[in-house]
């Protein structure tokens, strides 16, 4: 039977040796690293900025109740309807309810990982609505009926040739594989949809408690059109996206841009404070904000890992992760991939089913080193492993470690094991590299060095 763990292993075995995939990701990430590092230098004190960001988010999360209360009150005071969704089902029901009430047919969406998290598109399409993703990357993967590959770059795994082919097949329009031409094709389709759409759905990057506003940062202007053209706007956002003060954006917007895409600032940064107010020329007639919990409060209750709620979804940890770079975004089988996904997915979807993601790590710590809000990512993977083994121990691993302990602790047993080991290695030599080799998972792709004729401890004894 296929489980998330077996699926992960199967996909990892297929993708990791794929040199074409590796080349695409390495090239993309190589370019990202160069601009990211240039822009980081624009900060007077990058480490100081990280410390401040970590403190700000931690404070925000530790007083989440107060911030959310203020945020919701201020939004409502300007006529926004605020909804609270405890779980994915409630989130979907609330949004489907609004669509029904509005008699909507066509929905445009800008990028929202929360909508992936609650499988909103599926639910809307199943209920008969036409849903169009307006972020170019999301638009492409939607046409291909694929999930986004990466938090920030949903279509980074595709070459322009593949995108052209997708457009040709699905839209029957792809004059060349030049990015400008392909973008124009998408633009023509989308402009029609913006005008037809009854409801626009967005995500959010930050919720400002002080002013009761949503902050959305983007590069294509699609979120602005999604928000401004349809009569009804819905924002779906996780409750952890709160920032206490408006001025916090002065740090977080450039930080998110630098770490997300290597930009000093993204092209469009917009604040949404409510529906169109009397005397205003544009904006939606009705504005709904859906605040999603979906296990976030459970993570908040975990004193060890609560800092993971500070994540601003910049994707920087994915970009530096050697696991992500070799297995790719789809292998994870989760909405949130890479190190942050491996940390939080067990909290969102259950540890027993998703502990393999915490195991599929060399614990190198590149993620923690890069995280702009200083989430202790790789140590959380260790804690997940500990929690998983406490929750449901693997009898054979426990047995191996139980047998190993006295051997490691007693010099006599260690010395005996050393001698047995040498003999065993000789026998193993007969089956070296074959499936009969007990070290096959190593020796299939790597040579195993022989045991030394004299171990260090044997040498030391001889010296004394």
């Amino acid at each position: 039977m296929s489980t998330p763990a077996t699926q992960f292993n199967e996909d990892a075995r297929r993708v990791a040796p794929d040199l074409r995939h590796r080349g695409i990701i390495q090239t993309a990430m190589g370019k990202y690293e160069v601009v990211r590092d240039q822009r980081k230098l624009w900060f007077q004190d990058w480490q100081g900025a990280r410390n401040l960001a970590a403190r700000t988010k931690f404070e925000a999360v530790n007083h989440l109740d107060q911030h959310l209360d203020q945020f919701a009150r201020l939004l409502e005071s300007r006529g926004t309807k605020v909804h609270w969704a405890s779980n994915a089902q409630q989130g979907r029901d609330i949004i489907l309810g609004i669509l029904r009430e509005k008699g909507a047919k066509v929905i445009v969406k800008s990028k929202a990982m929360t909508s992936e998290e609650i499988h909103l598109n599926n639910a809307m399409e199943h209920a008969g609505y036409e849903v169009v993703e307006s972020d170019l990357g999301e638009f492409i993967v939607q046409l291909r009926q694929e999930p986004p590959y990466h938090l920030v770059f949903p279509a980074m795994h595709l070459t322009r040739g593949e995108i052209r082919q997708t457009f040709q097949e699905k839209l029957n329009d792809a004059p060349s594989d030049e990015p400008e031409d392909l973008t124009m094709v998408a633009r023509r389709v989308m402009r029609q949809k913006y005008l037809q759409a009854d409801v626009g759905i967005t995500g959010a990057n930050f919720c400002i408690a002080e002013t009761g506003m949503i902050s959305i940062t983007e590069n294509e202007g699609n979120a602005r059109l999604t928000a401004a053209l349809p009569k009804t706007m819905i924002t779906l956002v996780g409750i952890e996206k709160v920032l206490p003060r408006l001025e916090d954006l002065a740090l977080f917007l450039p930080m998110l841009a630098v770490m997300g895409t290597g930009q000093a600032l993204t092209c469009y940064n917009t604040m949404y404070g409510g529906p169109r107010q009397p005397g205003e020329a544009d904006g939606p007639e009705e504005y709904h904000v859906v605040l999603l919990d979906n296990h976030r409060t459970a993570l908040l209750a975990d004193a060890e890992q609560r800092d993971a709620l500070g994540c601003i979804r910049c994707g920087a940890c994915l970009n530096v992760c050697p696991i992500f770079r070799n297995v790719g975004g789809h292998t994870y089988g989760t909405v949130y991939g890479g190190p942050i996904g491996s940390v939080i997915t067990p909290h969102l979807r259950g540890l027993t089913q998703w502990k393999h993601l915490s195991e599929a790590s060399s614990l190198c710590g590149a993620c923690t080193e890069t995280c702009p809000v200083k989430i202790d990512l790789h140590h959380h993977l260790l804690q997940n492993r500990r929690n998983a083994s406490q929750q449901k121990p693997s009898w054979w691993q426990k047995l191996v470690f139980k047998i190993f302990a006295p051997i490691a602790n007693q010099p006599g047993l260690w010395s005996l094991t050393t001698k047995f080991g040498r003999f065993g290695m000789k026998l193993r030599g007969l089956v070296n590299g074959t499936v009969l080799d007990p070290a096959h998972s190593w020796t299939k792709t790597r040579d195993l060095p022989p045991m030394a004729k004299q171990s260090f401890k044997e040498w030391w004894k001889e010296q004394k």
Binding site: C364, A405, N409, T418, M451, S455
Partner: protein, 238 residues
């Protein structure tokens, strides 16, 4: 000074020359070297797999046999991080917490001990080769050990250090990870080897024999023709 050497299990069994080089280097500097017979492993495999009780069963023995030491030098950045960073966490809230912290505070990875504790960078070594250095992740990120190995290599006569692009990217070893996820581990090792080969170095040098086992094992299997050597062995070349 009396230096207590901690030789991790795989160094003992497969790379004894790494430990022997360390003994020779410290003795040449006029220090007394001790190596307790007791502990053969730091307990990291069980710890990293999530079996903390089983890890403590080994780590307690390590702490007991090292608690009287003046300074403890560990022949691996990874085991060094286990002992100086993770022991206090492993024993937090247990009766051994204070002892774990006290031992942790005396633990040094080999290169950082030479440079930061002894203040030595020039060991009079000669090694006429082009070398690239691989930062083991634990040494680099848990112990902040970027500088010491390079300062030591800079003083080796005839040695030319050429940094590779992927010096700080994990080699894919990661303990049991290498055997549990061989395809991912191998891909990571290939990325490392490719970057090292681009430098046209004769040797990849590191503070971690475990990383070098991964890199050398892969390079040999794929006939890449690059050699690996532990920093201590380079520094022992006269």
């Amino acid at each position: 000074m009396t230096i207590t050497l901690f030789i991790p299990c795989f160094v003992d069994l497969m790379y004894p020359q790494v430990g022997i080089s360390m003994v020779r280097i410290f003795e040449k500097l006029g220090h007394k070297v001790e190596c307790p017979e007791g502990p053969a492993c730091c307990g990291q495999p069980a710890f990293n797999t999530g079996y903390w009780d089983e890890s403590r069963a080994i780590a307690i023995n390590v702490i007991e046999s090292l608690k009287a030491a003046e300074a403890i030098v560990i022949a691996s950045g990874s085991c060094g991080a286990m002992m100086s960073v993770f022991y206090p966490q492993l024993f937090a809230g247990t009766p051994h917490e204070a002892a774990a912290k006290s031992v942790a505070a005396k633990c040094y990875e080999f290169s950082s001990f030479l440079v930061n504790k002894l203040g030595v960078t020039d060991l009079g070594a000669k090694f006429r080769h082009r070398v690239t250095f691989h930062d083991g992740c634990h040494g680099l990120r848990e112990l902040n050990n970027k500088r010491p190995p390079r300062e030591l290599l800079a003083k080796v006569r005839g040695l030319e250090l050429v940094e590779m692009g992927a010096a700080e990217i994990c080699c894919g070893f990661g303990g049991t990870f290498a055997a549990k996820f061989p395809a991912i581990s191998t891909a990571m090792g290939e990325v490392k080897c490719t970057s090292a080969l681009e430098t046209k170095a004769d040797y990849i040098v590191s503070c971690d024999s475990s990383c070098l086992m991964q890199i050398q094992g892969l390079a040999d299997k794929q006939k890449k023709g690059i050699k690996t050597m532990h920093l201590a062995e380079v520094l022992a070349q006269q």
